[in-house]
Symmetry: C2
Subunit: 122 residues, 2 copies
């Protein structure tokens, strides 16, 4: 799985301090809010989870559209929003487009919402 996964920008990974450690700057909040907004839709969240959970690290768009009742163009729109938010990337190979997640984009969001420092003191 790991060797097949494409990590397009692992070097640009920035680690966020948890919210409970330090209040966000206005600039950081703007960038992070864009990512959370992209996650704030049930279809996009399911698409992201289907891509992230795929052994092998990538998913053909043909395997994504069948899982939803909405039409292909709607799925394409949501995939584009996730891609523009930098959470996934894709590549066309022949007829189909293949998608994969960008862990370096998800990790800072996970770290930001980590409350273990808080709950450890209870």
């Amino acid at each position: 799985m790991g060797t097949e996964l494409k990590i397009t920008d692992l070097r640009s990974a920035t680690c966020c301090k948890p919210l409970v450690d330090e209040a966000l700057t206005e600039e950081s909040a703007a960038g992070l809010a864009r990512s959370f907004k992209a996650l704030g839709d049930p279809i996009r969240l399911r698409l992201l989870s289907m891509i992230a959970a795929r052994a092998g690290g990538e998913v053909c768009v043909c395997d994504l559209t069948d899982a939803f009742e909405v039409k292909g163009p709607t799925i394409s729109h949501h995939l584009r929003v996730l891609r523009e938010a930098g959470l996934i990337d894709c590549e066309r190979r022949g007829t189909w487009v293949y998608y994969w997640v960008i862990p370096a984009a998800l990790t800072p969001l996970s770290q930001l919402l980590d409350t273990s420092a808080l709950t450890a003191t209870i």
Copy 2:
């Protein structure tokens, strides 16, 4: 800090498997997307971070409004969205309302976006 923190619903904490482990169900995605949507605004994200980072565990609304250029009613609206999403709670004491975060609501979101299982295999 810990003893002063109000944990209103720690018992209802549900731990999410990371996206990279398992695709979300439609039902789970709907609930989680609501939370992410609440985080998808820079002012709300900054408010949440200011509340979460406060030593003592809670913040007077009077200390939140001064940090923003927008008016009080706008801040109140964003605080209400965060509260309705279950991410924060509040209590009125005399003139002021005091806010605190609900770690049990943030933790599942953090766990969901945890990609350490993925990056560990690279």
